[in-house]
Amino acid sequence: MRPGQTMIAAWAFAMAALVTFIPANLNPILIFSVAGNSQENLIITGVRALWMQGFQPLGALVFFSAILAPFFYLASVSYVSANWTLQLRLPFAGAALRLAEALESWNLLPVFAIACMVSVVKLRTLGTVSWEPGSLWVLATAVFTMLTIQCFDRKCAELYLEGVK
């Protein structure tokens, strides 16, 4: 593959991940029930529960690494690689590239997807668990995110943006 060709793939994967990220956050991941009472779980529910129990730093950490960082990472990667793919010269692409670099190791959605699976196994021992559509969206976002990280060529983006200046 020619150098830079993967940038087009990175653009496609980042956009796909951004799209699946929305239903992943709006749909419940799983429903847990004990003796007839049930509780829905979205990504944000865990953040809220940790916050309410007095563990604000943990709530903030989960919010940052499972919601904020993935969103801004994917958004900035799509912005930067759109420059390359469409041969555009969009403003602030350099800043977007630096943001993508800073957030790359904080984009923990694949880790979150694994945690979802483990939690279902764990909850089975306590009550009844059922998967909800949100979990599939989380999985899809996680896969697209990993593909984005694989394809996004930082050096290539840097060189292209330098050539623009």
């Binding site: 129990q53 945690a115 764990k122």
Partner: protein, 166 residues
């Protein structure tokens, strides 16, 4: 920030990570209450419980992510930073550093797991999951090692030792 300062900061974060590792593993991470039965679990206790329910692959994943990864990170970070500036094993050190960055985030599995369990454990007296102090130490330890590996750049392995730095 100069490279010299980066090395110092990275060393400080690794030291902090080693200290935080102790309470992170000895204090309970969560308390599960199910129909009146109260149970506090440490990180290792959670792995053991998964293992006892017969789910060996899942237990193995959690064991790798939240027990093995932090230890490997702390040990190899100390090794990398201890040898900084010397010419021993430079290419092997580079490989280790790249590997560290790759595996670094997996320890977060435990924190996410906790957030999901806490979220569903809001059924009053029937079932509740409460986060415990150990989780704070655990999260702090992960953040320290993440930053330590991030600040120390791979190219620094090849640098000549600074005057008056050891």
């Amino acid at each position: 920030m100069t490279d010299h300062l980066k090395v110092k900061l990275s060393r400080a974060l690794t030291a902090a990570g080693i200290i935080l590792y102790i309470p992170a593993n000895f204090l309970p991470v969560m308390t599960i209450t199910l129909t009146g039965q109260v149970e506090s679990l440490t990180v290792m206790g959670g792995v053991f419980e998964l293992y006892e329910t017969g789910l060996v692959p899942v237990a193995a994943v959690v064991f790798l992510a939240s027990v093995v990864v932090p230890v490997v990170k702390l040990v190899s970070l100390s090794w990398l930073l201890g040898l900084h500036g010397s010419e021993v094993n430079q290419s092997r050190r580079m490989k280790v550093h790249l590997f560290l960055i790759r595996i670094g985030t997996w320890a977060m599995v435990d924190i996410f797991l906790l957030s999901i369990l806490v979220a569903v454990g809001q059924l009053g007296i029937l079932a509740s999951v409460q986060a415990e102090a150990g989780a704070l130490f655990f999260a702090a330890m992960i953040i320290c090692t993440l930053y330590a590996a991030d600040i120390y750049k791979t190219h620094m392995i090849w640098q000549q030792p600074m005057p008056n730095s050891t």
